[in-house]
Symmetry: C2
Subunit: 211 residues, 2 copies
Amino acid sequence: MYSPEQLMQMFPLFDRKLAEFIASIAETKTFSEGHIMMKTGQYFKASMLITKGKVKLYREGEDGNEFFMYFLEAGSACALSMICATRNQSSQIMAIAVEETEVIMIPIQYMDVLMTEYKGWYYFVLETYRSRFEELLIVIDNIAFKNMDERLEWYLRNQAKHNKQITLTHQQIANDLSSSREVISRLLKKLENRQMVVLHRNFIEWLEPLH
Amino acid sequence: MYSPEQLMQMFPLFDRKLAEFIASIAETKTFSEGHIMMKTGQYFKASMLITKGKVKLYREGEDGNEFFMYFLEAGSACALSMICATRNQSSQIMAIAVEETEVIMIPIQYMDVLMTEYKGWYYFVLETYRSRFEELLIVIDNIAFKNMDERLEWYLRNQAKHNKQITLTHQQIANDLSSSREVISRLLKKLENRQMVVLHRNFIEWLEPLH
DNA sequence: TTTCAATTGTGATCTTCATCACCGTCCAGG
DNA sequence: CCTGGACGGTGATGAAGATCACAATTGAAA
């Protein structure tokens, strides 16, 4: 499905030997938009490397609340799937494909040989874990130290990274931030006054530079 | 300093071969109470395994705020020191010894051989990372979904795990929870009314069962 | 013993945000 | 074309918690 060259381009930490091995065992799987790729309490039989699309990672509260944490995009891997697959344990996170998403599945039985024979693999695993950890720390910063207006701005900037047209309703944003629609509507209005966004029905236009 | 047997007892995921290797290269280091073991932006030249004592991990906000995340105790390792050592990157967390703490330092140059030759090591690394990750998720649950009274209760339960006498001032607790002293004082008073704690000057007695 | 700084208690007020109530707008399916 | 449900706007009210002001208590140092 993918050549070693393509893999090395998507996953810069892969060396040639590793890319060749992954290419030889890769099985891809496609999830359609809205598909739940991972549910709280689920066990994994494979690690997933994302090759196309975009996945939204949530934390689920006890009372059915959802709390947005981060996106995974092409070139990244699901840290939890890697570790849970290796250690055969369950996850505490929910993942939903926000667009059509393709992943490479690496069955659990290859974990040992990958880890022991391919140095590039464990660099990749560690880097994946480290960067997910950093993202969680940023999430904590946001909810611990910032007000809703700053969190909304950070959230929109995140969403806008790949597309300045953010096709979300105020209600969906409120859910992701664990807030309420009215508050989000009012804050969006303020951002519009500051000329940072233009509001439309069913989508929001982001006017600021993306990085 | 430590025999392989002692190491295997403290770190259950170590197999004999790994414990022997660690024992052969172990250098211990002791940090006195209050010592800052790790600072935001610091680089590591070694992984640290904790053999005695207790370490408090904080997230630092931009404006000097501190936010308590979790403790590390004997038998656990600092996930960040392991990964940052391996990948030679800096951390975003602060660690302070809350009691006299002894650690085994594993210099960076052993990371490769540990990872490739000792299967027990990478299980240990993954498990360390996974459990730290879970703890961060719990922190997020708390600040995203819970009120201050529940968070305070969780915090005290955590502190009391090893000692029912919690020697902290209300101000210190407020800092850890990123709240204010007055709020903490009032909530503590409520807990006292519910007979869950007894308040004293400079320390708090936890009356509930520990687990 | 006196004194001063750290700790704790308490009321008043303010800000942020959640919640409720209600209305207008848009648009897709009948 | 009409109409009901989804979406968005807006004011009023309430609760949680931050902040301010100040008093009371304690304990260690002088």
